[in-house]
Subunit: 298 residues, 2 copies
DNA sequence: ACGACACATAAGCCCTGTTAATGGGTACCG
DNA sequence: CGGTACCCATTAACAGGGCTTATGTGTCGT
């Protein structure tokens, strides 16, 4: 289906002229000069092979051919205009944020309400995925990911450091009479001994790391699942304390030690540099940075 | 109703790309380079404020926004394309010829069949009017008019000289025992004594002209009406003999004298110079000139 | 008769979109 | 597992076309 199309600029001029019944008015509407409209109409008339307007003294009227052409053109432009406006609306009205499940569940979910309240016209769509999002390949506006904050082509904003400390259920801690010092952990099951954070934390704590090697691995893929496991009493997990304040307060989770690990990475808000000025992206950025400033990291 | 429209060239590129699922194929269809399509799409994406395609390895897919846009654009272009083709068809398929009633009735009517036969796809619309047609103001393709053949902006072709000679009904001639010489006419009623051709003819015939002044005027406006009056026996009329061969052969009209007047004017085929290459105009011109060459003026 | 108004026309400039060349990335194939 | 082919992105330089300004022509209204 290959269309045989007339010059579109000419069609545009024709449509406006037919609708307004005047070259001059059409020129005004289109933001160009009357001469330009005259030129375009003439062009189109040559293409069509017949006059489209009858030039009468103080007005112009459509010829038969013009009459056939005009309504279809108006309708077509109306269609385009509507679809364009709608797409633009949707583009501005829906914000898709991709983030890791942990952040989505532990931080975003509870706070999104305040964003929606501040921007009632913006629909927010959260996509939780472990994958790193590629803005060129996925239909996503902004992403929140852990990393060092430098991704080519992306603008990033520091949100929270990815700090971590061992956590477990109070009941599990009780089985060994409470966790008083780091070494106590060695007597407990570890949710994911393969977690790269463990060696870092253990080293900070002055403990050996080799004992982890023998433990059964259970890669859960996301911190939130490890937290679930920890709350279920299945072991000790390295979690970011800021994400679990409520669970700690409610006694579902216990942070026995004050030693906080830090791998130098952090959660960053990221979006395509080229789109940094899109209103919805601005809105989200301003909101999330504001939230963090107020709450101090959750 | 002023439309907020996106850049049309970009829309065009987008539509083809969405339809074909490839920048490269779209470029081929549109007769431009792949780079140009890429550029236009990027432009449109900036206008819309959101990506329209997801660039995946060997293919591209529409984003949600793109999916909303694409069908409307295809439909709109299809609409434009159809209307354009139809207008073009109508422009090529209908020939409007404006002519004086005399020529229409006495010459064209009987011969148009041969034109239609030669060009079955062309619908012919004959408009008989006494007014001189202005191609800028009326919806007419070609005109046949008497004159000297020089009209600014028009191309003209000589058809027939506007010659004239007195004619009357055989019965009327009989009332004075036949018309043998010009002077006999002075004893008969004259259909339109105000016809400017009479002084010319009378002078050629060596007769006085003042006797016409007293005769009752009856301006009929067109030669064909004068012919009707003459055939009805109401008087002598100055007619172009070529137009009335049949009537003479059938005995309804009599040309008593061989003296033929000529005012230096002629019937010309005329059309806008700018449209001289329109197929339907070419066709009509070729046909009518051919007819005249064969028939020698009817 | 004159001014106001509307479209047509001509010349020239500037900008837009194009081309051409190149690079990056992925999938296919042997 | 490397080579090749395909597809899209990007860049710089170019060319063409559409726009503007200025002016002309015709008609209507006063």
């Amino acid at each position: 289906m290959s269309f045989q199309l007339p010059p579109l600029a000419a069609i545009r001029a024709f449509e406006a002229t037919a609708r307004l019944g005047s070259f001059t008015k059409a020129a005004a509407e289109l933001g160009m000069t009357q001469a330009a409209v005259s030129y375009q109409i003439k062009l189109l008339e040559e293409r069509v092979g017949a006059p489209l307007f009858l030039r009468q003294p103080r007005q112009i009227v459509l010829t038969e051919v013009g009459q056939r052409l005009a309504p279809a053109m108006s309708e077509a432009f109306s269609l385009i205009s509507d679809a364009y406006a709608s797409a633009r609306g949707e583009a501005q009205g829906t914000l898709t944020v991709s983030t890791v499940p942990t952040f989505a569940g532990q931080w975003l979910a509870g706070r999104l309400g305040s964003f929606q309240f501040a921007h009632p016209a913006l629909a927010v769509k959260v996509e939780s995925t472990g994958r790193l999002v590629d803005f060129d390949r996925e239909d996503v506006d902004v992403a929140i990911r852990a990393g060092n904050g430098t991704w080519p082509g992306l603008t990033t904003h520091f949100l929270l450091p990815t700090v971590f400390t061992p956590m477990l259920s109070p009941a599990l801690a009780e089985t060994i009479g409470g966790v008083k010092e780091p070494a106590d952990l060695m007597r407990l099951p570890i949710v994911d001994p393969g977690d790269p954070w463990w060696p870092l934390w253990l080293r900070m704590a002055g403990l050996p790391t080799d004992w982890l090697k023998d433990r059964p691995r259970s890669q859960l893929g996301s911190q939130i699942f490890e937290a679930q496991a920890a709350m279920a009493g299945r072991g000790v997990a390295l979690l970011t304390p800021g994400f679990y304040r409520e669970e700690i307060a409610a006694g579902r989770l216990l942070q026995p030690l004050d030693l906080i690990g830090d791998d130098g990475q952090a959660y960053y808000l990221a979006y395509a540099e080229a789109r940094r000025n899109a209103p919805k992206i601005k809105a989200f950025r301003d909101w999330i940075l504001g939230e963090l400033k107020v709450a101090g990291g959750g």
